[in-house]
């Protein structure tokens, strides 16, 4: 008898979120295996960021379950999601602007009661080395360039030692050279076992790192599968930015 398939590591099922009369996310379900990296794409207003907000606890779903390692954490406050190992970045970086780079990194580490200042700082230095920011340790976060802010935000999320990392538009508005660096970082992290969800408009960049792509439109998931298959799906082409040409040009 074949052994039963391994239960998904992360599972969102039947998530719903309404704002007034508008269904921002409707009946959204998705499973992730440990160590998987997936893209989440969709036109503006399709519900991608709301979905991220739901699965990180920033918003409470009206209905549905969010299973992390077999435990339903839906409805819990965002900080509990973070402590359970769900790390995220924001579309527009949300740093602690009047704190230094290293202080920004130390905040998540210090939320673990057993971590001392010294340990938090040591871990922050590791992350600084990873994002190559050693020389910026004592710069105020608000003085960083847009791309540097995205990298610092990534670093801050890594401080949680997240088992699931959700990156909301990590490539948007980033200088091409820094973009390569971010893509490289994401690859390295995934190779190191991080489970990653990547939300972005930059299809080329997304496709260069993920195999599986989820597509959302009008709050619903309309496709889920290998990127090359999904991106040829007529429904996806119809939904995505409404321009067939744009898709074909990129595919």
């Amino acid at each position: 008898m074949p052994s039963p398939p391994e239960a998904p590591y992360f599972a969102a099922s039947a998530l719903n979120k309404h704002f007034g009369g508008i269904a921002a996310v409707a009946d959204f379900s998705a499973d992730l295996q440990r160590g998987e990296i997936v893209g989440l794409i969709g036109p503006n207003g399709s519900g991608k960021t709301t979905t991220i907000n739901l699965v990180t606890g920033a918003l409470k779903p009206d209905g549905g379950a969010i299973m992390l390692d077999g435990r339903n954490i839906a409805g819990q406050p965002a900080y509990r999601f973070a402590r359970a190992g769900v790390g995220r970045t924001f579309q527009v970086p949300r740093l602690f602007r009047r704190m230094t780079v290293i202080e920004n990194l130390m905040v998540p580490a210090l939320t673990a009661a057993r971590t001392s200042h010294r340990q938090a700082e040591d871990r922050a230095r590791e992350i600084l080395a990873f994002v190559r920011f050693e020389h910026l340790a004592h710069a105020y976060a608000r003085t960083l360039s847009g791309g540097q802010q995205k990298l610092l935000e990534l670093g801050r999320a890594l401080m949680l030692r997240p088992s699931l990392l959700l990156l909301d538009e990590p490539f948007a508005g980033v200088h091409p050279r820094l973009l390569e660096q971010i893509v490289e970082h994401i690859r390295t992290l995934n190779a190191g076992g991080y489970t990653i969800v990547l939300v972005d408009h930059n299809l080329d960049a997304v496709r260069s790192v993920v195999r599986r792509t989820l597509v959302m439109a009008r709050g619903r998931k309309i496709a889920d599968g290998p990127s090359e298959v999904v991106l040829q799906d007529p429904e996806v082409i119809r939904a995505y930015t409404g321009t067939r040409k744009a898709m074909e040009g990129r595919a």
Binding site: T56, A82, L110, T111, A112
Partner: protein, 326 residues
């Protein structure tokens, strides 16, 4: 960082020595003014923690001072409790109510928080007026003194001790991870939550801590001045505390103390000018906001730094220059 830290301590030490020496050289009038200034200093510093560090712009801070003053006085006068019991009980009540207010304003920020707390303060003031049988309303409540004899000097030193203790307690709190989290919450609450910070808990902690300190300031004030009136809670009083914190440096606790002393002393020196002195203070507030946004204390510290330290000793500035990798 370390260098500035030390310099700040030296400056604070010198200011403390100066404050200790005042009664030896000043007349009774200025000792009285000084003792009153300590009340405002404790309030301004604790408000700086609440607003400057944690970003909670509460207008109910003076209401907690009044709660302290009235609480301690009423528990002794009406219930006959000994002072040694009335004071901790009052502080405890302030902490509970502080927690309650912190919980009530959890979802409010910026102008909404300010308006909400302003309304709370007004309600409290009106209650003090309305409950005439208990509080004696606008007539004022007579409060027994703490010391027999010695004039204002013992109060001056008690007030100074309270300032030092309050600063030590608050700096102690800020040196823990709580200080980190409060700053993170001030900067971006959503990002703090996404980083694992229990923002609810920490906002309540800062309200509890600052409400307790404000109530202690009020207890001191009541026993020193000898009469309490609902005017402790009027909006201009809160405005004065805010002006003190902002002029001294809203993100610096010793800065707020310096601001309180400077503003209160100025308002006494300029007493002959009547209401015009407040116009002058308003002008001072505008100038500080324009030219020394982080307050006078940091401004003076920076000035001393520039005078004594080579530029290279300060690799980072607020303006965002940072040392190049070597």
């Amino acid at each position: 960082m370390g260098r500035r830290f030390k310099r700040s301590h030296v400056l604070q030490g010198l200011l403390l020595l100066l404050a200790l020496a005042v009664p030896a050289v000043a007349g009774p009038y200025w000792i009285h003014v000084g003792a009153l200034a300590w009340y405002y200093a404790v309030l301004a510093a604790s408000w700086a923690l609440l607003a400057g560090y944690a970003g909670q712009f509460s207008f109910a801070h003076v209401a907690f001072a009044a709660l302290g003053g009235y609480g301690s006085a009423l528990l002794t006068l009406r219930l006959g409790l000994p002072l040694a019991l009335a004071i901790p009980l009052t502080v405890l009540i302030a902490m509970v109510l502080g927690a309650l207010m912190g919980a009530l304003v959890l979802r409010l920020s910026g102008p909404y928080l300010a308006l909400f707390t302003l309304a709370i303060a007004e309600i409290f003031r009106l209650m003090l007026i309305a409950e005439e049988d208990v509080t004696r309303g606008s007539l004022g409540l007579q409060v027994p003194g703490l010391f027999s004899g010695g004039g204002d000097v013992p109060y001056y030193y008690l007030g100074l001790a309270l300032v030092v203790l309050a600063l030590m307690a608050m700096n102690g709190l800020l040196a823990t991870r709580i200080g980190f989290f409060l700053r993170a919450i001030r900067e971006d609450e959503g990002a703090a939550q996404a980083s694992g910070v229990n923002t609810t808990l920490h906002k309540i902690i800062v309200f509890v801590a600052t409400s307790a300190i404000a109530s202690i300031a009020g207890i001191y004030y009541g026993h020193f001045v000898g009469i309490l009136s609902p005017n402790m809670v009027i909006i201009p009083e809160m405005g004065l505390v805010i002006a003190m914190a902002v002029i001294g440096g809203i993100e610096s606790l010793p800065g707020a103390v310096v601001g309180a002393v400077v503003v209160y002393a100025l308002s006494e020196i300029l007493r002959d000018y009547g209401e015009w002195r407040f116009v002058l203070l308003g002008l001072a507030l505008i100038l500080v906001q324009r030219f020394a946004q982080n307050g006078l204390f940091l401004f003076i510290e920076r000035y001393l730094d520039r005078r004594t330290a080579p530029v290279s000793a300060t690799p980072i500035t607020e303006e965002g220059e940072y040392a190049k990798p070597s």
